[in-house]
C-alpha cells in the first residue's frame, strides 16, 4: 500500500489518467513543437507595444520630463500609479510560491511557475517607472550608496524612497533566484528528452548539469523551504515599504497608518486577478486544463473575494477616520475631492471594481465559471489601477493652496510608456510560455500520487476502513 494519502473529499489537482511520463509529455511537448499562429500574433503585438513604449521613453528622455502632464501640484501621476500597480501584481506570484508552500497548499503546484514568472516580469516593468521619472535617467545610479568623489555624500537611509530601492531590488533578486532554482530540474527534464542538438546544448547550459540525485533533491527541498520562509516576510515588506512612500509624508489621504496592510491586501488582490487572466489563456492555448483545473481557479477566486473585501474594509475605514479624526483637510480630501469633485469618477470606478463586483465570488457557481472569472480578473485589475490613481492624484490635485489647484490627464508619452510596459510584460510572458515549462513538472509529479484523479480513486478502499487498521498498515508497510 501507499504511504501517501489524502481525503477523497478533496477535489483532485490533476485530472485524467496520468502517470509520471504523461505529465512530462503534457507540459514539455509545447516547448518542443512550433508555436501556433496565435502565439506569433500575440508576440508581435507585444513587440510593437514594446517598441512604442521605447519610443515614448526616448521622447521623454530627449525632451525632458516636461513632456509629461505632471505639474507643480501633481508631481506623481501615471508613472507612480503604474509603478505601484505593477509591483502589486507581482505580489501574487510570491504569495502562491512562498506563502502557500509554507501552508502546504497542494494546489500551488499547478500555478506557481507561471505566477512567479509573472512576478518577475511585473517587477521588471515596475522598476522602470521610478527610474524614468527621475528625469535625468543617466544619473539613476545616484540612488545607490557607492563611494563617490562628492565627499563621499551618501544616500539618505532615512528616506522611504531609498528603502524602496532596496526593497524592489531585493524582491526582484530573491524572486528570480526562487524561480530559477525551481526551473533547474525541469530544464534538465527538457534537456534529457531533447531530440535536437541545439536544444540539448541550450537546456544543458540552463539546467546547470542537474542529474536528480537524491542528495541534491534533499538540498533543493531545504533551499525551497528556506527561500519560501524568506520570501514570505519579504513580499509583505515590499508593499509595506511602497506604502511608506505615501504614509510617511504629510499629505492628507496619504498620512495614515492603515496603509501597509491595506496596500499588501490590494497587491495580492490585483496579483491574483492578473494570474487568473494569464492562466485562463495559457491553460486553453497550451491544453493544460487538466493541470490548471477549475478547482485551482476557484481557490484563487476565494483569495480574490477575501482580499477584495479586506481592501473594501480599508476604504471604509479611511472614510470613517477622515470623518472621526476631525482633521478638516483630511475630511475635505476624502469627502469633497475624492468621493466627489472633478476626479470623483475615478473613486467610484475604484469602488465598483474592487469592492462591489468581486462579491459575485461568494457564489460557487460564479467562482467556477471561466467566463465570469476572466471578466472579473480584468475588472479587478482596472479597479486596482484606479485605486493607485485615486490615492495619488486625488490627494495631490487639491492641495492646501487653492490657487495651485489643478487637474491632471496624461500626455501621450505617459500613456505610451504604460503601453510599453505591457509590451515588455507580454513579450517576456510569450517567450516564457514557449521556451519554459509553464507548470512545475517535478512538483506536479510529487503531488500526483496523492492528488491525481486516478490515484485518488484507488484510495476509496481506505476511506471505508478503520483508522486503527490504516495506521497499523502504514506502520508495518515496509
Amino acid at each position: 500500500m501507499h504511504l501517501k494519502y489524502e481525503s477523497t473529499l478533496r477535489e483532485p489537482l490533476v485530472d485524467g489518467e496520468k502517470d509520471y511520463h504523461q505529465v512530462t509529455e503534457d507540459i514539455i511537448s509545447p516547448i518542443e513543437g512550433k508555436p501556433g499562429k496565435l502565439w506569433y500574433v500575440g508576440f508581435f503585438i507585444s513587440l510593437s507595444l514594446l517598441g512604442f513604449g521605447a519610443f515614448s521613453v526616448f521622447w521623454q528622455i530627449y525632451f525632458g520630463v516636461g513632456v509629461w502632464n505632471l505639474n507643480k501640484t501633481i508631481g506623481w501621476g501615471w508613472d507612480i500609479t503604474n509603478f505601484v500597480w505593477w509591483v502589486g501584481i507581482g505580489h501574487a506570484g510570491t504569495l502562491i510560491s512562498a506563502i502557500l508552500l509554507l501552508f502546504r497548499q497542494g494546489w500551488r503546484t499547478g500555478v506557481n511557475r507561471a505566477a512567479e514568472a509573472m512576478t518577475i516580469f511585473a517587477v521588471m516593468c515596475a522598476g522602470q517607472f521610478p527610474i524614468i521619472h527621475m528625469g535625468r535617467v543617466w544619473m539613476a545610479f545616484f540612488i545607490l550608496p557607492y563611494p563617490n568623489t562628492r565627499g563621499p555624500v551618501w544616500v539618505n537611509f532615512n528616506s522611504p524612497l531609498l528603502w524602496d530601492v532596496f526593497a524592489i531590488s531585493t524582491y526582484f533578486t530573491v524572486s528570480l533566484l526562487f524561480w530559477y532554482s525551481g526551473l533547474i530540474p525541469d530544464f534538465a527534464t527538457v534537456r534529457d528528452r531533447a531530440k535536437t542538438k541545439l536544444r540539448k546544448l541550450l537546456y544543458g547550459v540552463a539546467s546547470f548539469g542537474w542529474t536528480g540525485s537524491t542528495k541534491h533533491w534533499q538540498r533543493h527541498e531545504a533551499l525551497s523551504l528556506v527561500l519560501a520562509g524568506l520570501a514570505t516576510p519579504l513580499v509583505l515588506s515590499v508593499h509595506t515599504i511602497v506604502s511608506f512612500d505615501f504614509a510617511t509624508s504629510v499629505i492628507p489621504g496619504w498620512h495614515t497608518t492603515i496603509f501597509p496592510p491595506y496596500f499588501v491586501a490590494g497587491a495580492i488582490f490585483s496579483g491574483f486577478a492578473m494570474v487568473q487572466t494569464l492562466l485562463i489563456i495559457t491553460r486553453k492555448i497550451l491544453n493544460l486544463e487538466q493541470y490548471i483545473t477549475i478547482g485551482h481557479m476557484e481557490a484563487m477566486n476565494k483569495v480574490i473575494v477575501l482580499t477584495g473585501s479586506v481592501v473594501g474594509c480599508a476604504y471604509l475605514t479611511e472614510l470613517f477616520m477622515a470623518w472621526y479624526g476631525a482633521n478638516p483637510y483630511e475630511f475635505d480630501t476624502f469627502f469633497k475631492y475624492r468621493a466627489a469633485g472633478p476626479l470623483g469618477w475615478s473613486y467610484w470606478i475604484m469602488m465598483t471594481c474592487n469592492v462591489i463586483s468581486p462579491q459575485v465570488f461568494w457564489f460557487r457557481k460564479m467562482r467556477r465559471s471561466i467566463a465570469v472569472t476572466f471578466v472579473m480578473s480584468i475588472i479587478v485589475n482596472i479597479g486596482m489601477w484606479f485605486e493607485r490613481f485615486v490615492i495619488i492624484c486625488t490627494s495631490l490635485y487639491r492641495d492646501y493652496l487653492p490657487s495651485s489647484w489643478s487637474y491632471y490627464r496624461p500626455s501621450w508619452p505617459e500613456v505610451g510608456f504604460y503601453m510599453g510596459t505591457f509590451g515588455l510584460f507580454f513579450t517576456c510572458y510569450f517567450l516564457f510560455a514557449k521556451y519554459f515549462p509553464v507548470i512545475a513538472v517535478a512538483e506536479i509529479k510529487s503531488i500526483l500520487k496523492t492528488s491525481g484523479e486516478n490515484f485518488k480513486e484507488k484510495m476509496e478502499v481506505y476511506e471505508d476502513q478503520s483508522d486503527e487498521k490504516f495506521a497499523h498498515d502504514v506502520a508495518h508497510a515496509h
Binding site: 563621499p152 537611509f157 546547470f208 542528495k215 533533491w217 517535478a442
Partner: protein, 197 residues
C-alpha cells in the same frame, strides 16, 4: 573525479524503490546514488543520508546581511559624513530597519543559492554523466558502484529480484566536468580518442 564501474537499474514506482534501497543497504552493496525525477520524500532517510545543513548556512548569511546593513548605515551617518537631516538623530534605528531587513533577506537568499550550487556542483557549463535519460522524466534510477569485492552479475540478479528492470553495466565519470550536453565528451572518452588518433 574518477572513472568507475556501475550497475544501473530502473524502477517504475517509489513503492518498489523503497524496499529495494533497504535491501541494497542490508546486503552491503555500495549505493552510489538514486536519481529521481522529483523529490521523493523519505528517500534520503532510507538511503541513510544525513540532514542538509543548508539552513544553518542560510542563517549565517542572514546574520551577515543584518550586521552589514546596520554597521554600514551607522558608520555613514555617524563617522563618515554626519549629516543633519531635519534634526533627526544620527542613529535612527527604526528608520534603519527596512534596509536592514532587506539586506538580511538578500544575503541569505543569494548566499544560500550559491552554496546550494557549490555543494551540488552545478552551474552553467557543468556536465555530469546521465545514467538514463528518463531519470529526469519518470524512472527512478538506482546506481550501484562496483568495487573489487562486488560481482557485477550478482548485483544484476540482485536488482532484478528487487524489482528493477533495464539493468545494465556502465563505465562512467563519477564527478563533474565542463562539457556540452549535445556531445559525448566525458573526459575519459576524450583521452581514449586522443590516444587512438
Amino acid at each position: 573525479m574518477a572513472v568507475k564501474n556501475f550497475v544501473v537499474g530502473l524502477f517504475d514506482d517509489e513503492a518498489v524503490l523503497f524496499p529495494a534501497v533497504k535491501k541494497v543497504r542490508t546486503a552491503g552493496y555500495k549505493l552510489h546514488d538514486v536519481y529521481t525525477p522529483f523529490p521523493v520524500h523519505g528517500l534520503d532517510h532510507a538511503m541513510g543520508l544525513r540532514e542538509s545543513s543548508l539552513h544553518t548556512a542560510g542563517f549565517i548569511y542572514g546574520i551577515t546581511g543584518t550586521t552589514t546593513a546596520l554597521s554600514f548605515m551607522s558608520w555613514v551617518f555617524n563617522a563618515d559624513w554626519p549629516l543633519n537631516i531635519g534634526g533627526k538623530p544620527h542613529f535612527p534605528l527604526p528608520a534603519f530597519i527596512p534596509i536592514t531587513f532587506e539586506l538580511t533577506v538578500l544575503f541569505a537568499a543569494v548566499g544560500m543559492v550559491m552554496t546550494f550550487c557549490w555543494l551540488c556542483q552545478i552551474m552553467p557549463g557543468v556536465k555530469k554523466h546521465i545514467f538514463h535519460p528518463r531519470q529526469t522524466d519518470d524512472k527512478f534510477v538506482m546506481v550501484i558502484e562496483l568495487t573489487e569485492k562486488t560481482n557485477a552479475e550478482e548485483v544484476k540478479s540482485f536488482l532484478t529480484a528487487a524489482g528493477a528492470h533495464d539493468i545494465n553495466e556502465q563505465k562512467a565519470e563519477a564527478g563533474w566536468w565542463f562539457g556540452r550536453f549535445d556531445k559525448d565528451d566525458e573526459p575519459y572518452l576524450r583521452k581514449i580518442q586522443t590516444a587512438n588518433a
